[in-house]
């Protein structure tokens, strides 16, 4: 993702999906508003997985967990 410095992988802290994504935005301010909206919610057509399981904003994240952010299969 260009807004995340062009890197596909990042090492980030955080106890929940939302905290991890806020840490990403803190490290790369251009990410602000792209994955989480101003309400702090995941955008409707963005999916997040923790270790392969679909997750929500408050899903717990532990050390060494893998959080993947993937645009939904949608559009026209």
């Amino acid at each position: 993702m260009k807004q995340a410095g062009g890197k596909a992988e990042h090492a980030l802290g955080g106890a929940t999906v939302a905290e991890v994504l806020r840490a990403l935005a803190a490290e790369h301010p251009a990410v602000e508003g792209w994955i989480l909206d101003e309400r702090g919610r995941l955008r409707e057509h963005v999916n997040v997985f923790v270790n392969g399981e679909q997750a929500e904003e408050e899903t717990a994240v532990a050390e060494r967990d893998r959080v993947e952010v993937i645009p939904a299969i949608s559009g026209g």
Partner: protein, 355 residues
């Protein structure tokens, strides 16, 4: 040479040329992304694009070279941690003061930039207006689609929201008041609150006589001579095949001249009788006449959206441009008397601006 900036369902296109010799696509940006609105600010030369990614939400980007790199503007968001998120950008308009621009979006919100479009700030008075919880969205959402400055008076501004009607400020956006007298929403019961659900489709002002305004309503064409406080019907028995439509253009040189593109009301929303025609008034709406020489006139069922009609020049040099959801862009360099095709087979056209 005229530059036509076209926002489409699949990106932004820049056309350059003239109606007589034709246009070519000189740039495309935001491939695959819906560009709802785009405009070149004539003061700075900067092009702005309102892009609403289906994945990543609404943004505004700007550039000096549409074929080059684009920068993302900041500040286009509703208050953090609230109940609402910005859904869509509808319009970007240069303001009166140097480096001031306005942007309108869904849910019925206005943003102002004082630094040439790099950063934006939400208009709090409109956002916190006490009637907001009664505003109703139109079919396209609660869209703030028309922003009309008053030439020479930066504190005066008129906006229109579908379907929350017309709003005026005379104190630079610190307070807002309605301007809907005379509008008749035929789609709600007569006994309903007359200021709820007012579905304005497009609004514009005659710059040489700023109190004169024209409006395309959701069923109705109106004129105001008192700066948009009250409105008179100029769409009934005046020569229009339908008083339904979306866009509207005013000739800056002549306060009595305006152009609309009627569509079949209300569920059909295509050009009537399979013929594409722009209608012109030269007498402030007392009568309208078709202008369609060169436009498709058989089995042509086009839809032209509210931001997809614009002009450059004025008076004898008035050029008109509009785009359709079927991907055509049409051009006229003689105030609509004759037309040529500027582009074919673009993605569905959402917006057209010319300069």
């Amino acid at each position: 040479m005229t530059e036509v900036v076209v926002g489409t369902k699949k990106g932004l296109f820049v056309l350059e040329g003239d109606p007589a010799s034709g246009f070519e696509v000189t740039a495309r940006a935001f491939a695959g992304e819906p560009v709802e609105c785009a405009v070149r600010d004539p003061r700075s030369g900067r092009i702005f694009a309102g892009m609403t990614s289906p994945f990543y939400g609404p943004k505004i980007f700007y550039t000096d070279d549409p074929a080059g790199e684009w920068e993302q503007s900041s500040g286009l968001a509703l208050p953090a941690g609230g109940e609402n998120a910005l859904k869509r950008m509808w319009v970007i308009v240069p303001g009166v003061e140097e480096a001031t621009l306005y942007a309108g979006g869904d849910p019925g919100v206005l943003f102002t930039s004082r630094d040439g479009g790099a950063t934006w700030e939400l208009n709090q008075a409109l956002w916190e207006h006490p009637t907001r919880d009664r505003w109703q969205p139109g079919g396209g959402g609660l869209c703030l689609h028309s922003i009309v400055p008053w030439p020479g008076e930066p504190d005066r501004l008129t906006i229109a929201i579908s379907a929350a009607g017309v709003w005026h400020t005379e104190d630079g956006g610190a307070s807002w008041e309605r301007g809907n007298d005379g509008l008749v929403p035929r789609y709600v019961p007569e006994e309903a609150d007359e200021e709820i659900g007012l579905c304005v489709h497009r609004l514009d002002r005659a710059p040489k006589q700023p109190a004169r305004m024209f409006m395309q309503f959701h069923g109705g064409v109106y004129r105001s001579d008192d700066a948009g406080r009250s409105w008179s019907d100029v769409g009934t028995d005046t020569g229009l095949p339908s008083d339904f439509g979306f866009p509207l253009v005013v000739d800056p040189a002549d306060p009595d001249s305006a152009y609309v593109i009627p569509l079949n009301a209300d569920m059909d929303r295509v050009t009537p009788e399979g013929r594409v025609r722009v209608y012109e008034t030269r007498d402030a709406g007392a009568s309208w006449a078709p202008r369609g020489d060169g436009l498709p006139d058989e089995h042509a069922y086009l839809t032209i959206l509210r931001r997809a009609f614009d002009r450059s020049g004025e008076g004898d040099g008035l050029e008109l441009y509009f785009g359709a959801t079927s991907g055509e862009v049409f051009a006229s360099d003689d105030a609509g008397a004759t037309w040529s095709t500027a582009a074919l087979r673009l993605p569905p056209v959402y917006s057209v601006t010319a300069s």
